[in-house]
Amino acid sequence: MRQARLRVFCVTKTNHILRGFALSEIQQILSEKNLDRHNDGLLELLNNVTVDDVKCALRETPGEYSLKRMLTLISPAAQECLEDMASQAAALTVQRFGKTVQLYAPLYVSNYCCNSCLYCGYNSSTKFERTRLTIEQAAAEADIIASEGFRHILLVSGEDPSFVTCDYLNELAEKLRSKFSSISIEIQPLSTDGYAEVFRGGIDGVTLYQETYDRDTYAKYHKAGPKSDYDYRLDTHDRTAAGGMRRLGVGFLLGLANWRLETLAMSEHAAYLMKNYWRAQVSFSFPRMRPALNVAENYQHLVNDKELVQLMLALRLCFADAGIVLSTRESAAFRDNLVKLCVTRMSAGSKTNPGGYSGDGNSAEQFEIDDDRSAGQIADMLKSVGKETVWKDWDAGFVNV
């Protein structure tokens, strides 16, 4: 295993060197717009936005992106206009997605990890008994998920390519395809070939967060392991899309750096992906820092409810057709309110440890969830606010080639 890890390091390193001095397009965009490092100039611009500027932006066609529009809508001044933003965002969401919310469930398959992210319960230097589910164990977990009605599943793991391999994923996908209409993954970054391989195996979406777009903050939190390479991670969605993936999930951890600056960088990233990989759909997630095993980090940039709502509304008002995803990290009361605004996809009844659904394992969870209601309860809640639960919005009949 040691050797395997070492090899990963080398490959990453070599790729990094091979890329040489040429920046990838997204690296260049972020660098030219000063979005990949903390930037006081941008903060000043944000603080200078007036309520009138926001009102002016809200008279523009909703759903159209420009960096300036996004900057206006996430400015401190825009907090005065949240009600107007909410009514526009809610109407636009209904127009584009209907009065519906799609549900999915995460399936944690492994908590092995070769990274040392300071905020994460799976940090490789944390000592606890690690688990990777066997194919049979994972399929049994998936059966429980399917029995609750889910047809969309997200396979999640810590980042250790010697445990969660393309072969492992394809073998599992093969078992899951008859029960699930769409299978996505949230695992370590793969090569383009790796993505193409698992795409052919029936996996059609990839969620991968940059964690933070700020290079200095990134370096501070990701000191060791292959993940310490900011650029390789930033370029991942170019590889997922090139590998054929249909659904690309982006996000940053809310709490590590100034959320307004992070949002500007993520928006540029999303706009770049939408323009260049026009056959894939981009969605946004909002992982707010949660308590985790052996993590006692004191975050400087925690995001409060009002700010998170502002962030989500601004994204909808700039990206009419982007998925907006809300996980069980958030509280039931907060989620109940947000589904009326602009959320298009939610997880429900989530277990964030391998083996969590069958209750067999007491394995370590990645973070503590907040909303622990069952899928059925979430569907009832959606109904009570006039939304239809969408369990299935894809079909295994689509060929992944």
Partner: protein, 256 residues
């Protein structure tokens, strides 16, 4: 009688209904009933076509409405064909609304792949109703390969912008040898009436009804508009002039 005939089947209503975006399957069913439609389209990605107890399918009375499966989400001809065949094998339905929409943002149809898929599916015995851009040449090519209709978009799907492609649709109607169903982008009953007044044979509506505050009432309004538009077309509109036209400006004195 003014009947619409598609592939030998008669339709009493010239309004077809989509099934996405409703707040519940019950509201969907009530809206379908209020529209008095004869045909509803359902995305294969949203249902288990082989399962009659599927929530959405169970809400659609198959005795009353012809179910038109669609391939929304297919990126290319290959995907659409495979999906269509699996659906037919599971359901026995050989009518198909062919949608090849590789771009998930505007959901605009890919003409090249649509033509390729249409050719193969018609050959394979499907009744193919292809969703297309308002492209008169493509419409002709599709008719040549044997599609049962052509379904040009009025404006991007779900956009509610109305008949932005009017000039091209006029040409498609003039040249058509199969029914022309205006699909996508009709946001108001007046838009649907306009399409019918032009001579479209039918329209298909989803978002404008499903996303309305009162979908059932909006479905009824569309029903009335489609009927009014069709009657106006049959009645033959009076000529348009730029100036007011008194009844007999030159010879009126003769009646004095």
């Amino acid at each position: 009688m003014d009947k619409l005939v598609i592939a030998g089947k008669e339709f009493g209503s010239r309004l077809f209904i989509g099934t996405g975006k409703y707040s519940s399957n019950q509201i969907m069913a009530e809206s379908i009933a209020a529209s008095k439609t004869d045909m509803v389209t359902v995305a294969l990605r949203r249902v288990d076509i082989e399962n009659e107890n599927d929530d959405m399918l169970a809400a659609i009375d198959r005795e009353k409405y012809l179910l038109l499966p669609n391939t929304s989400g297919a990126r290319d001809a290959k995907e659409a064909i495979r999906l269509a065949k699996l659906a037919r094998a599971a359901s026995g339905i050989n009518w198909l609304k062919l949608e090849v929409t590789p771009d998930p943002y505007y959901l605009l149809p890919d003409g090249t792949e649509t033509l390729k898929a249409a050719k193969a599916l018609v050959k394979d015995g499907f009744v193919v109703l292809p969703y297309i851009n308002a492209d008169p040449i493509l419409a002709k090519k599709l008719q040549d390969v044997g599609t049962a209709t052509v379904m040009p978009l009025a404006s991007p799907i779900g956009s509610n912008q109305g008949l932005k492609t009017r000039a091209a649709i006029e040409i498609i109607i003039k040249q058509a040898t199969v029914p022309v169903v205006v699909d996508a982008g009709l946001g108001l009953p007046s838009h649907a009436a306009e399409a019918m007044e032009m001579g479209s044979d039918a329209v298909l509506v989803n978002t404008a009804i499903a996303a309305a505050a009162d979908p059932v009432l909006m479905a009824k309004a569309f029903k009335q508009a489609v009927k009014a538009g069709r009657n106006a077309f049959l009645a033959g509109r009076a000529a348009v002039t730029t100036e007011a036209n008194a009844s007999s400006p030159l010879t009126g004195f003769l009646r004095d």
